[in-house]
Amino acid sequence: MSKLLNLEIKKSIFSKAFLLGLVLLSIFAVISGVLMINEYGGKNPQQLYEHCMENGKYLYNPDFPLFSFFNAWVGGETTTVAYTLFFTIMPVCTAIPFAWSYHNESKNSYIINVATRINIRKYFIAKAIAVFVSGALVVFLAFALNILIVSAFIPYCQPWAGYNFYNLVYFDTMWSDLFFSNPYLHMLLFILLNTLYGGIFALLSYVTSFYVKKYVVILFAPFLTMILAGYLENVIYNNIFRDSMYFVEFVPTQFLHSRSTIYQVMSWSVATTTLLLVGFIFISICVKVRKNEIY
């Protein structure tokens, strides 16, 4: 099993498809970074520093909201169109590297070479792990690239709730206390959550390939799922919860950003959505493994 797993992971990462997924997502990560640096430059940082800080402490100046690295990275900014596109196409970019490989190997019969040498269950499990790793890695590397670019130009000012702040995290959203007390940890947690979802999106595409034989549908399955979930969320909100203050976000492409732009993000809603998706993927793989006939 370990040798098959090594092989699958190698196939999933050292390929042109992986590079394509990574480059596509990175384009928006880079654009977001460049636009935020440009915006920061336009704020005249020296003047900002002189007016807002003294002996390392902030002085209140309503004309100069604080511009920090923690609200300028792609998971924290809400200013550019690049961040919207980054989170919108993320599900597709995670599927490009390897999620289609079962469909491909089943279609051209390569799977027979493997299925007669090892229990086919191990093949499906190894493939799932490799798909997860490739999707997660694409997201992680795109974030890393954005952070490298942004951190080179924008200072690490500690967020402070008592001061004007661009892209401030709302006080009642998930992990908002960490944004003020330990912004590095806050950022790290969101990167890890996004990395996890990179893998989950890729796996959604992988399980779709069990039932669908069209490449395009397989690649776009997680993206379409998110669009559908967003539509359902709006329908539910408009028809049932319109007057409620407590409607929570359950669409991953919305809550993966540290500053949700539509509904409130709560830890339990994120955990519930994650468990539902992981459960669905797990059950789909189990069903496939039980009905393991290869034609």
Binding site: L7, S109, Y110, I112, V114, A115, T116, I120, Y295
Partner: protein
């Protein structure tokens, strides 16, 4: 080891692709499957390999029931229809990757089998650049490289030139001498009858007859 089919029926949707088949493939023999396209030859090969399971009936490999005692034969080499490998790797690497799964053969065995199928030099090309004949040769190499107890070859002479056909005949005779149980299908009846100890004739999923070709000729 003997391969035994006991009243095996396989349905795919509403289609019956194998219909109440019962026969025994004797150990250390070459058994030919004869029938027109779509008669069910490949399905029987898939049933033996554990790639699919019977809707009813039983398949035994030795004394072990497929799908209950074992999910697929412990030692099997197979080439079904058009073999497929990884495009980005050369012939040697493709075999190495497959050999790594079981780890029962080494680098020398891979070189030896590549030489046997006539790919010792051209095997260094990327698989995507292989001709149809080369792909077929690599498929045969992958099937025999681990010296399996059961060898299943579906149309092994497809896309091969005369030398290639002779090579297949030679390999099959060597494999039989080694002790393998071989199941073979081939559209060329002459080749099938030359090589086979016994032929199973199939028509629309049903076994029409089992005979030894040499007896029939006589």
């Amino acid at each position: 080891m003997d391969i035994v089919f006991e009243n095996v029926t396989k349905k795919i949707g509403r289609n019956i692709v194998v219909d109440n088949a019962s026969f025994t493939i004797k150990s250390n023999s070459i058994t030919g499957l004869k029938g027109i396209n779509g008669s069910g030859k490949t399905m029987i090969m898939r049933l033996i390999s554990g790639l699919i399971y019977p809707t009813s009936g039983k398949v035994f490999i030795g004394n072990k029931k497929l799908g209950e005692d074992i999910s697929f034969p412990d030692s099997i080499g197979i080439m079904l229809e058009n073999p497929a490998f990884l495009n980005g790797y050369n012939g040697y690497d493709n075999l190495r990757i497959l050999a790594d799964i079981k780890s029962i053969i080494n680098e020398d065995d891979i070189c030896e089998v590549m030489k046997l199928v006539g790919l010792e030099e051209s095997g260094l090309k990327k698989y995507r650049k292989f001709s149809l004949g080369m792909k077929q040769r690599l498929g045969i190499a992958a099937a025999i490289m681990e010296k399996p107890e059961i060898l299943i070859l579906d149309e092994p002479t497809n896309s091969l030139d005369e030398d290639g056909v002779e090579m297949v005949k030679k390999i099959l005779r060597q494999e039989k001498e080694r002790g393998a149980t071989i199941v073979l299908s081939c559209h060329d009846t002459q080749i099938l009858e030359d090589l086979s100890d016994e032929i199973i004739e199939i028509q629309t999923g049903k076994i029409k007859g089992i005979y030894a070709p040499k007896e029939k000729i006589m």
